[in-house]
């Protein structure tokens, strides 16, 4: 087990994470991942494998029973979710984390919670969000729950940018949303990486994710099955999928 930092400087690194929801039932069995500035790293794998669980552990919603999470020299294991923003980590969970009964504008305002007293800053960022996502400006007084799935994602993305995080943990951003917005969201994620952000992206949309990934982790039943730069996986998505399905099947019948 490597105790030193990896060769490339990572913004968030996790080593040997084991975790579960109830005692005695372990979901993650020692997973190590890195989020690296300027890179999009995808976590792929069949449903129910523990991809979302991994992100929840990284953001502090679940305490790992073993393993360590760090950001440079800072140990983040055990840091509460509400404090993760201060360490430069943003989380976009599988179900959009908007406040459905509050207006779009108040949702954005709450995204600025960590610097709420800097009123000019708050205002400037909200205006910038409206410029970047005009639909949010048009619907600023509507409750967020009335937005379409894609618009909710846009709201969430706009909000998550406010504290200028270094690391984005993104869970299935394009699940069940309009295809037009899907492309937009992948482009957005790509833009974040170009700005030097470190992205850890969990996705069921293998084609879409591989289209923008720099590095791929493949998970299977709570462990990393394989990992490597995207180029190593080639463009044969079908092969990749059949690989997991085959080994998954083999593991079951064994």
């Amino acid at each position: 087990m490597p105790d030193t930092l990896p060769a490339i400087e990572s913004s968030l690194s996790a080593r040997n994470l084991a975790a579960g929801y109830v005692s005695g039932i372990e979901i993650l069995h020692g997973v190590s991942v890195d989020a690296v500035p300027g890179q999009i790293r995808c976590v792929l794998g069949p449903n129910g494998t523990g991809k979302s669980t991994l992100l929840k552990v990284l953001f502090g919603f679940l305490k790992p029973s073993t393993g360590e999470i760090r950001s440079g020299p800072t140990v983040l294991t055990g840091v509460a979710p509400h404090a993760m923003g201060r360490h430069g980590v943003a989380y976009l969970p599988q179900r959009p984390s908007i406040f459905p009964f509050l207006s779009v504008e108040v949702n954005l305002r709450l995204g600025a919670w960590s610097f709420r007293r800097r009123h000019a800053d708050v205002k400037r960022k909200i205006e910038r969000a409206y410029a970047q996502f005009p639909i949010l400006g048009e619907r600023r007084n509507q409750t967020a729950g009335t937005l379409s799935g894609g618009q909710q994602r846009q709201l969430e993305f706009a909000r998550s940018l406010f504290p200028e995080p270094k690391v984005f943990l993104i869970d299935e951003p394009t699940a069940s949303i309009e295809p037009r917005i899907t492309a937009q969201i992948y482009e957005l994620i790509r833009g974040l990486a170009r700005d030097g952000k470190a992205i850890l992206l969990v996705d069921q949309n293998i084609k879409g994710a591989l289209g923008i990934a720099d590095y791929v982790y493949v998970m299977r039943t709570g462990s990393l099955y394989t990992e490597g730069p995207r180029t190593e996986f080639g463009d044969d998505v079908e092969l990749l999928v059949s690989q997991w399905l085959y080994t998954h099947h083999a593991a079951k019948t064994a």
Binding site: P81, A83, L110
Partner: protein
């Protein structure tokens, strides 16, 4: 007869405003902490006594005494929340709802008895806000104290609605009530919001106690009846909706007083009042299980 009904409706409005103060506090606590606070009526009682002693011992005039009583109740409630409710937020406690019921129920009995020891079992009455009565509806009188209680209570409700909707702390409370997870994603520390909710809820009840004291006097058991009524109102208002709670409180206060007024023997009124509220609740729940103004989609985890 019409005069009599009108004056009963006015009295009902006063009671309705008091119910609204107590019940909105209960609603806020319920929607943020996800517990039913069975000691809420006793917080209301304590607020009344705080007001009384602030006036009689410290010599604060009655009007500012209401605000001082609210401030004390705010801090007192936060003390209770820190001391008794923090285990609710620990993952080690599994049956959180049961814990909440037991601890707040125990607290209500405790506070009622400590009040008997500290304040005595006999009713205490603080000085009036304004002596005298206003003649209305040809000969019938409504006391200035009732007008002050209703007016002051309405002001507090308006301030509450402003706080919840227009301030970032109120919006954060709202956010936590909708999703603790999403709130922590934007960096809101839920535990601080639990403190704030319990404090604000307590302060509202305390304000009601201080406002009502010159009208009905203070006694250690004064919280029992309003507490039952507040539960009814919170359910009628649709569990977690502040505006629904306020409207339900006003409707219940007025209709209950009219019901009493129309009883053949009004002296029996008070004993039927509670039954009336509960009867209305059963009817409403039969036909509208989410309450009169229920939000269907609200997440109650």
């Amino acid at each position: 007869m019409l005069d009599y009904i009108l004056i009963q409706a006015a009295n009902g409005l006063v009671i309705g405003v008091m119910f609204a103060l107590i019940a909105t506090g209960l609603t806020i606590i319920f929607s943020i902490l996800k517990i039913v606070n069975f000691a809420h009526g006793e917080i209301y009682m304590m607020g009344g006594y705080f007001g009384y002693y602030v006036i009689t011992l410290l010599g604060v005039p009655p009007f500012p005494a209401v605000l001082v009583a609210m401030a004390i109740t705010f801090l007192f409630s936060i003390g209770l929340e820190r001391g008794l409710l923090t285990p609710l937020y620990s993952p080690r406690i599994e049956r959180k709802a049961d814990y909440g019921i037991l601890i707040t129920f125990g607290l209500s009995v405790f506070l009622r008895n400590i009040a008997i020891i500290l304040f005595g079992p006999f009713p205490l009455r603080p000085p009036s806000f304004i002596e005298g009565s206003l003649a209305v509806f040809g000969g019938l009188m409504i006391s200035y104290d009732r007008l002050v209680a209703a007016g002051g209570g309405l002001l507090l409700l308006v301030a509450l609605i402003w706080f919840l909707n227009r301030t970032v702390w109120g919006q954060a409370l709202n956010a936590v009530s909708q999703s603790r997870e999403s709130a922590s994603i934007v960096g809101i520390n839920s535990e601080r919001m639990y403190m704030l909710a319990f404090g604000v809820g307590g302060a509202l009840a305390g304000g009601a106690g201080a406002l009502i004291a010159p009208i009905y006097s203070l006694s250690p058991s004064m919280g029992l009846v309003p507490d039952t009524q507040a539960f009814v109102i919170v359910i009628l208002g649709g569990l977690g909706s502040v505006s629904g709670t306020i409207i339900a409180a006003l409707l219940l206060g007025i209709s209950q007083n009219l019901f009493i007024a129309l009883l053949p023997d009004p002296s029996r009124g008070p004993s039927y009042a509670n039954a009336f509220g509960l009867f209305i609740m059963m009817l409403v729940l039969l036909f509208r299980p989410t309450g009169i103004f229920g939000r269907h989609a609200v997440a109650m985890d």
